[in-house]
């Protein structure tokens, strides 16, 4: 929420300061979007389109810009799609497998704990698989989240093969008649070829064991991350079939604007946002609310 207020108040200030829609106005709008990590290319495209729109509609006053700006952002986000793209692909009466991937420290394990809690609240039977066998304390961390969400955690000892752990997880989820299996994986930077291959292997095990699975591959992105998030989205999509993004740490001052660029360039939607470290701090992503939310104050006036 903080993010949105400060962002929209910036736009408001901008509109108040500039009476007319001129070069200076666009330059500052550009700065605001850049400072939200939207990304240079996306911002340039957006500004160009806005300039055209201003010409087309013969807009001279800044207050008319509010709607035009937010409409354009929503357009960039959705393209031809509807808001269906935000909903999770959950199977009815069948096991749903969710694979969670991402670079180091972005919030994978925490988000898994929060998701497990949500599913559990909805009355689903949930199993977690401790696929990070590498990082110190990773298994114990997931176990603690399992306790908080009151769900089972399948694990092996530290250092064992992640694909084997996931295999065990699938077996256990099937025999316990679970509705949802969420698989944790170790953080890995996308330029580490071996580790990305390891991830593909995990993905293949899931594909092989359950036709149609994984039903969701969620890439966790830290909202504090800058342009590298785009490269993360590209490379992880090559190793697995990334179906959605969890955007974490939005409770800080970073804006997470890079998800606009990712959606724009790679067509991957955001499914959840992380808003804190507690079990309840996960919300479903609503792009309309997110984009309109950036300009909430403006639109209300």
């Amino acid at each position: 929420e903080k993010t949105r207020t400060s962002f929209s108040s910036k736009i408001n200030n901008l509109l108040a300061r500039y009476r007319s829609v001129d070069e200076d106005f666009f330059e500052e709008l550009e700065d605001i979007l850049i400072s939200a990590d939207v990304g240079v290319t996306t911002v340039m495209d957006l500004i160009d389109e806005l300039k055209m729109e201003v010409k087309r509609q013969n807009i001279k006053e800044t207050d008319k810009m509010k709607e035009v700006i937010s409409e354009k952002l929503v357009e960039i986000y959705y393209g031809e799609d509807s808001d269906q793209i935000e909903s999770m692909n959950i199977q009815n009466d069948e096991l749903t497998i969710i694979l969670v991937v991402g670079v180091n420290g972005v919030g994978k394990t925490t988000s898994i704990g929060k998701m497990a809690y949500q599913f559990k609240q909805e009355g689903k039977r949930v199993v977690l698989a401790a696929g990070d066998t590498f990082r110190a304390g990773a298994i114990e961390q997931l176990e603690e989240w399992g306790k908080r969400a009151e769900v089972d955690v399948i694990k092996q000892s530290a250092g064992s093969d992640p694909a084997a752990v996931i295999f065990d997880g699938i077996k256990a989820a099937k025999s316990r008649k679970a509705d949802v299996l969420i698989c944790d994986t170790a953080g890995r930077l996308q330029n580490k070829v071996n580790l990305m291959n390891e991830l593909s292997k995990v993905n293949r095990v899931i594909e092989r064991e359950v036709p149609g699975a994984p039903h969701e591959v969620l890439l966790v992105l830290d909202a504090t991350t800058g342009q590298n998030a785009l490269s993360q989205a590209k490379t992880f999509s090559e190793a697995t079939n990334v179906s959605g993004i969890v955007l974490t740490k939005l409770d800080g001052t970073a804006k997470g604007g890079i998800v606009l660029a990712i959606r724009h360039e790679l067509n991957i939607p955001v499914k959840y946002v992380g808003l804190g470290e507690q079990v309840g701090d996960l919300q479903e992503f609503d792009a309309h609310a997110f984009v309109y939310g950036l300009f909430a104050d403006m639109l209300q006036e």
Partner: protein
């Protein structure tokens, strides 16, 4: 790769002005536009970029073109000089207290790499300086944080001081110093929980730890992939704690790492070490001039100068 280096960006402009005797204002304008985009794509904060561009313009306009360089190369040289100057010199020394133990405090946002870097620093101090550090588990919030540090301690065969998760971090830190004195540990490295710079309560906790153990070093641990927000984070931590240095992690990735420049610009504190992997021996001294080249994709630029 997602990012073009500066060289790619400058190709066409450089061609246009090759053979001219003087760098005109228009040339500089066109080139600085590309420089600006390259820096923004590398995640350098937009305000820092603005200041840099102004300085570059001032220096570049009207320069006589040196015989050995084309005008394009000359602008690149000015850019590289400015960046290198801003990054500062190399500085990877760690403080030594007059009376041991020397106390180091690790701080930063969630998931930046504090706990891992605590282990790496301890390893570095033992290997390179023959020291015997005590690691201190002051993160009582994150699930299994104490366990994580204890596991690192086991891997390193080094002592870890912890009081579980019920104790107060200020008390844990204070008791740890007492133990270090009794056990003759000459360094104490305090791992703290990740926190947002706008979380007043937790930022105050760091101030309290600071005032009770009087650290000789307070490091801000920053993820090299951080975007525009790096300035806000670094500025807040520095204002509240008066940092002694910065450690940049995850530089083994393919990020340009413009955050390094932003942080240096707003705090003027040295970046001392770079995390180059998840393993405990993957900590290196930070090289500012290499960082400047990396931010600009300067590998390309150097070949460009050779080609021209």
């Amino acid at each position: 790769m997602a990012f073009e280096g500066l060289a790619d960006r400058l190709q066409s402009t450089i061609k246009k002005i090759t053979g001219k005797g003087k760098v005109s204002e228009q040339d500089v304008k066109e080139m600085t536009r590309e420089v600006r985009l390259a820096l923004l794509e590398a995640d350098v904060n937009f305000k820092v970029v603005k200041n840099l561009i102004n300085r570059i313009k001032e220096r570049a306009v009207g320069q006589e073109v040196m015989e050995s360089l084309t005008p394009g190369q000359q602008v690149i040289k000015v850019v590289q000089d400015e960046l290198t100057a801003l990054m500062g010199g190399e500085q990877s020394k760690i403080a030594v207290a007059d009376r041991p133990p020397t106390v180091i405090m690790m701080t930063g946002l969630q998931g930046a790499g504090k706990t891992t870097t605590t282990g790496k620093l301890a390893n570095h101090l033992r290997k390179k300086h023959n020291r015997s550090p005590l690691l201190v588990a002051c993160d009582v919030y994150r699930p299994a944080a104490v366990n994580q540090l204890e596991t690192l301690g086991e891997q390193l065969n080094m002592p870890v001081f912890s009081m579980g998760t019920k104790a107060n971090p200020v008390e844990i830190a204070t008791k740890a110093i007492e133990q270090a004195k009794a056990e003759h540990n000459d360094y104490v490295i305090i791992d703290t929980a990740g926190r947002l710079h706008v979380d007043n309560e937790l930022m105050e906790e760091l101030e309290e730890i600071k005032s009770s153990v009087k650290p000789d070093e307070i490091f801000l641990v920053v993820d090299a992939m951080t975007g525009q927000d790096a300035v806000n984070v670094a500025e807040s931590f520095n204002e509240q704690l008066d940092l002694s240095g910065v450690i940049l992690t995850k530089l083994d990735g393919d990020t340009r790492g413009g955050a390094a420049l932003s942080i240096k610009a707003v705090t003027d504190k040295p970046i001392k070490f770079a995390g180059m992997g998840e393993k405990l021996d993957q900590l290196e001294a930070f090289h500012p001039e290499r960082m400047a080249s990396r931010i600009l994709g300067m590998g390309d630029v150097l070949t460009l100068i050779e080609k021209a």
